[in-house]
């Protein structure tokens, strides 16, 4: 990981230089700066762009959670940019179980569409990776979901790890491991 950090730093410095050259080229070879300068509020516009470019260069921890510092709405624009540790084929599902003990999958992406899928997924992924230390938070999510779903027959909700069974065999069979459980009726 330390090796990658040095590589990441090197790549980041190169990227930052390229961004500055890129912006300089836009300023030099186009009329954009002239357009901005002709506006009465040029200082505000230029300040916004300067902060945007600075955030693009500085804000390198946007995908970390919990992220200690952020400059919202000025964020780094980057996605699917690197996977130094590879891609782990794991995900999660949330189930509601009735008496028949068959998982009725709850579509949390639909319920919490307001949070937006990428953001919700990265929070759930964090909980998946750190479920031991965050079991209370997971149960809080399950409890909120149980309040959201009008399904009186469900006895308990679970947060489960989802893994794919042998991608090499062109199979998309999944298997699941329960990580947390919330009983709707606490006396059950």
């Amino acid at each position: 990981m330390e090796d990658y950090f040095i590589e990441y730093l090197f790549r980041g410095v190169l990227e930052s230089f390229f961004i500055l050259i890129f912006i300089w080229s836009i300023i030099k070879y186009t009329d954009l700066l002239k357009i901005i300068k002709n506006n009465r509020y040029k200082k505000v516009i230029l300040t916004i762009f300067i902060i945007l470019i600075s955030a693009q260069i500085i804000d390198r921890y946007q995908y970390q959670f919990p992220q200690k510092y952020d400059f919202y709405p000025f964020i780094r624009f980057a996605m699917y940019q690197a996977a130094p540790e590879g891609v782990e084929l794991t995900s999660y599902r949330i189930c509601g179980y009735k008496k028949d003990i068959i998982c009725e999958e709850v579509n949390i992406a639909k319920i919490y569409n307001t949070i937006s899928l990428p953001s919700l997924s990265s929070r759930m992924h964090y909980l998946l990776q750190n479920h031991v230390n965050n079991s209370e938070e997971i149960v809080s999510w399950l409890k909120a979901i149980s309040n959201e779903i009008d399904e009186s027959e469900i006895i308990y909700f679970t947060f489960e790890k989802k893994e794919i069974n042998n991608l090499r065999n062109n199979s998309n069979q999944y298997f699941y491991t329960e990580l947390a459980r919330y009983f709707v009726d606490e006396n059950a």
């Binding site: 916004i48 999510w141 999944y174």
Partner: protein, 269 residues
Amino acid sequence: MKTLDFNFSHNIETISKLIWLIWLQYLILDELYRLRHLPYETFYPRGIFRFIINEQTYNLLTNFNLLFLFQIALILILIINMKTSSSRLEFIFLVLVYFYELFKKGFGGHIDHRITTLLIFSVLFFVIKLDNSASVKVVLSIPYAFFFLQYSLIGIARLFNGFPELFFSEIFYKWLIQRNMRPKYYEYDLNTYLVNIDINLINILFLAATCLEIFAIFCLFLKRNYLKSYLIMLVLFHVGIFILMGISFLENILIILLLLYLTHEKSNH
């Protein structure tokens, strides 16, 4: 190179209304009230909310339907603004919607780009048109400069941080599989097909999409017909992302369609 070097037949007021309509559809369709059962333990305050939100204020916001009222207030401001076109109202809206978004960011793992793009685009549009002498071309140039620049920056970030591994390995293919394992808005499991797909094809698409992003800034300087073609490709790119990964960038699509509409109209004259 000259920016958006053609005439537009619409006036600033109409364009302004169309931008506020993008916000209106977002706010009307947004199910913010769903957050009402999420307790404080699930909330991670961002930005200035770190200093102003504690458990008591959080409970106040999530109880008593205050979130719902906040959303309704924003919708009303937009509707009133459609009639009055008041800069003051627009300013109030942009400040309030910033807090609206900041609140929602508390439930995510990272800050995503979807509404952030629309927010910065709208702020730039708002500031530029405060200058009454600004022409339609000027009023459009700067927000769209940001809009296309963010695509270029995303592409550049990927190129510099991921090349060559990202484009010549299984990484993106696995990302696709992994993204389809997650709950997403539509429930169809694409992995039935994706597990059998040729990885080279996926990588070519990924590389093409990255090139499309990097060169997006040139949209500002393209002739009308080339620009239209590029904009259509960007729309298809977003539709592809939604189908393959379930990630919606509806507002970006609408911003692109807005420019497509504005450029298209003039060509009829």
